[in-house]
């Protein structure tokens, strides 16, 4: 019963992530890919994503510091990569922020870029935290049941 309870909690948590618009269909795809051969596939992917995305965030921060003038092309390219990485785990809100950032890049708005980036970092951190809690709970709940469609 503990088990069941845990599992329900996990499911609920996942559902809320979807409801809040933090995750999208891609996350479910990942879960569907998880199988006996790769029982921790989702976490593996998320970990890979963190590694790549942290690196990109650092690079973007660095680029934003070189302010005179801002290299919008470079920023756009970096953000493009970041967006790609975010799309791999289905980070919906983060992706939306990426798009916004790129808009500002194209418009050449340094101010817009800075603001957007701050927001992006917040979203990114928030999602990361929630996912970590989710995985922890999932691990505790025991072997994953098959992915359930939340939406």
């Amino acid at each position: 019963m503990d088990r069941n309870q845990s599992r329900r909690q996990v499911a609920a948590m996942k559902q809320s992530l979807f409801d809040q618009g933090l995750l999208d269909e891609q996350f479910i795809q990942l879960e569907e890919l998880q199988d006996d051969a790769n029982p921790n596939f989702v976490e593996e992917i998320v970990t890979l994503h963190y590694r790549d995305s942290s690196r990109l965030i650092t690079s973007i921060e660095q680029a934003l510091k070189e302010r005179n003038p801002l290299d919008f092309n470079k920023l756009d390219t970096l953000m493009h990569q970041f967006k790609g990485s975010s799309s791999s785990i289905g980070a919906k809100k983060v992706k939306a922020e990426c798009n916004l950032f790129r808009e500002y890049c194209r418009a050449g708005s340094a101010e817009g870029c800075m603001r957007s980036f701050q927001q992006l970092k917040r979203e990114y951190a928030a999602l990361r935290k929630k996912l970590e809690a989710y995985f922890q709970l999932a691990r505790q709940a025991g072997p994953q049941e098959t992915a359930c469609r939340s939406k």
Binding site: L30, E32, L33, H49, H80, Q81, S87, S88
Partner: protein
């Protein structure tokens, strides 16, 4: 349906077992795609670098059925890769990106992508990629049928009426039959290609073939060259005038690109490696080709030197193809030793440039590029001669050994082991100058005396080398006029520590040639030899020209005998592969 010849595990289970090559710089996506494709029961190979991918593709031309590649990659533009794969391997390529802008998708289609997927990619999209493979085979079979064996196809098709698989087999069988046939009979192949609207058969311009071509061009004289003349000289029965004409066009473009590049390089003090993707391609091709033994010995390696730093940056997309040729760093066997590279003293500017880079890495043996490593330790007979004593950094004269007498651009890795014994020091201890290469054995003696395949006759070989090598490395020289500037720029390019003195490489070369290599007898050969000898370096060694102030020296024309094409061809050395594919 199972005609014995068709059955094979792959065939039986088609589309299962489809061999997919996935290229994406995003490690997360690479992993996801791998998993997805495996779930579709495909055989997956992953690559995070376009250059690596090309290398793999070139290593075994028929190891893959389809390629899936991301559009934005650091070392090479995805579209370029797409072009290359289409040209060289004629495989279906699917592009993917997180960016779905119509213009991008359009670009993909224009470059030949058979599909364009948007990230995030769904499994179901990947399940169906086999259709592209099948479609292509069908077209090929159709071509085959229409030209070769109407009956054959029907026979096969009819024979396998029991199942769809049978047809698949038939198609595949026909395709492979066709391919076999093609291999045997290029002419037929071409014909088929010509007639087929869907599949274009093309003549594969192998290194040998291209060398013959360059040789013919050089013999005729670049200015007076014409497809008919070349064809006659080449005496390759199955080759048609059209084949030659189109190849010639590519070649010309290639040369002019090299020239432009060289000019560009001269203006920029440093070689920017990680330049635009196009540049990458250039290097890219080199890299790849380097791995290919067949490819020209062009010191492509040097080009591809740094990831993305395509030294050779060719202007425009064509670079890649160009570089390809060059890159084909061919079989080290030859090249390397080819001190004969000298022949390319004129090392194409661009090639020089690349050399610089690579050399730098050579020193550090970075060869970060895996590809580079492949390059055979060639001697680089880069025509750059460092002015001063040959220092390792100076120059790895990249000798493009390949048949084209390409300057081994890569010099970086190969430390040319100069054969002390020779005054000229065959830079490479392997004097095995590739057959083709005419490694200009630099014999200080007659300038042109030893062209052919002497491999390292210093100086003299240069002249000859030039000749012998179909001048693949053309870039070098085209030089006539720019020789100087080229070097300079090259020198500056040399990141490695190349000596700027190399500027006079060309000069050096010239000097050497003129001097008959007397200077060659320089002592430091031993040590120098160990470095990558850029041609100049080599020269220094050989001629002891280290102190020579060659800057003025280089003058492509100086070699009286050196045919004018020599210089022109210098650029060719880098033979871009594209040239090979008529």
């Amino acid at each position: 349906m199972d005609n014995g010849c068709f059955s094979s595990p792959r065939h039986d289970a088609f589309p299962a077992g489809l061999r997919v090559l996935v290229v994406d710089d995003d490690p997360t996506w690479l992993r996801i795609l791998e998993k997805m494709l495996k779930k579709c029961l495909y055989e997956v190979t992953t690559c995070c670098l376009a250059t690596e991918a090309l290398k793999k593709l070139r290593e075994r031309k028929d190891a893959y059925d389809i390629v899936i590649s991301d559009v934005n990659m650091p070392d090479m533009d995805g579209f370029k890769l797409l072009e290359q794969v289409g040209l060289e391997m004629d495989l279906p390529v699917i592009m993917m990106s997180v960016d779905g802008e119509t213009s991008r998708v359009m670009k993909g289609v224009q470059h030949g992508a058979c599909d364009y997927l948007l990230k995030p990619i769904r499994m179901k999209e990947l399940r169906n990629i086999w259709q592209h493979v099948f479609r292509k085979r069908m077209h090929e079979a159709r071509d085959y049928e229409s030209h070769e064996g109407f009956e054959t196809l029907h026979l096969i098709m009819n024979g396998s009426d029991q199942s769809d698989d049978g047809n698949l087999f038939a198609v595949e069988e026909i395709t492979s039959m066709k391919k076999r046939k093609d291999a045997d009979n290029k002419h037929d192949d071409k014909e088929l290609g010509d007639h087929s609207p869907t599949k274009k058969a093309r003549v594969v311009w192998s290194v040998d073939l291209h060398q013959k071509f360059v040789k013919a061009v050089n013999q005729i004289g670049f200015d007076k060259v014409g497809p008919k003349k070349i064809l006659d000289l080449m005496s390759v029965p199955w080759l048609t005038r059209e084949n030659v004409a189109s190849h010639l066009q590519k070649y010309r473009l290639y040369l002019s690109r090299l020239q432009k590049e060289n000019e560009q390089k001269s203006s920029s003090s440093g070689i920017k490696h990680s330049d635009s993707p196009s540049k990458d391609t250039g290097s890219f091709s080199f890299l790849n080709t380097a791995n290919n033994k067949q490819q020209n010995d062009v010191a492509i390696d040097s080009f591809s030197y740094s990831d993305g730093t395509s030294l050779l940056q060719m202007d425009g997309p064509s670079h890649e193809s160009d570089l390809k040729g060059i890159v084909s760093e061919p079989t080290t066997e030859k090249r390397r030793t080819s001190t004969s590279d000298i022949s390319d003293p004129k090392i194409p500017k661009s090639s020089q440039m690349t050399l610089n880079e690579p050399f730098a890495s050579l020193e550090s043996s970075e060869a970060s590029h895996a590809v580079f490593d492949c390059t055979i330790p060639r001697q680089y007979s880069w025509s750059e001669f460092p002015k001063g004593p040959l220092k390792e950094e100076q120059k790895t004269i990249v000798q493009l050994e390949d048949s084209f007498s390409q300057l081994p651009l890569h010099g970086t890795q190969h430390h040319i082991q100069v054969d002390q014994s020779q005054s000229i020091a065959s830079i490479n201890s392997n004097p095995s100058i590739t057959e083709k290469e005419v490694a200009p054995s630099i014999d200080t003696k007659p300038l042109y005396a030893g062209y052919k395949s002497d491999y390292m006759s210093p100086v003299s070989s240069i002249g000859s080398a030039v000749d012998t090598f179909p001048k693949q490395s053309k870039s070098v020289i085209v030089n006539d006029q720019s020789s100087q500037p080229i070097f300079t720029s090259n020198v500056s390019l040399k990141t490695q520590g190349f000596n700027v003195d190399c500027i006079s490489d060309l000069d050096f070369y010239q000097m050497n040639l003129l001097m008959g290599g007397e200077a060659a007898a320089s002592s430091p050969l031993e040590e120098d030899l160990n470095h990558f000898l850029l041609q100049s370096e080599w020269y220094n060694m050989n001629f002891g020209l280290q102190h020579i102030d060659m800057s003025e020296y280089y003058d492509p024309r100086f070699i009286a005998e050196a045919p004018s094409y020599f210089y022109d061809s210098a650029d060719y050395s880098s033979v871009d592969q594209s040239l090979f594919i008529a």
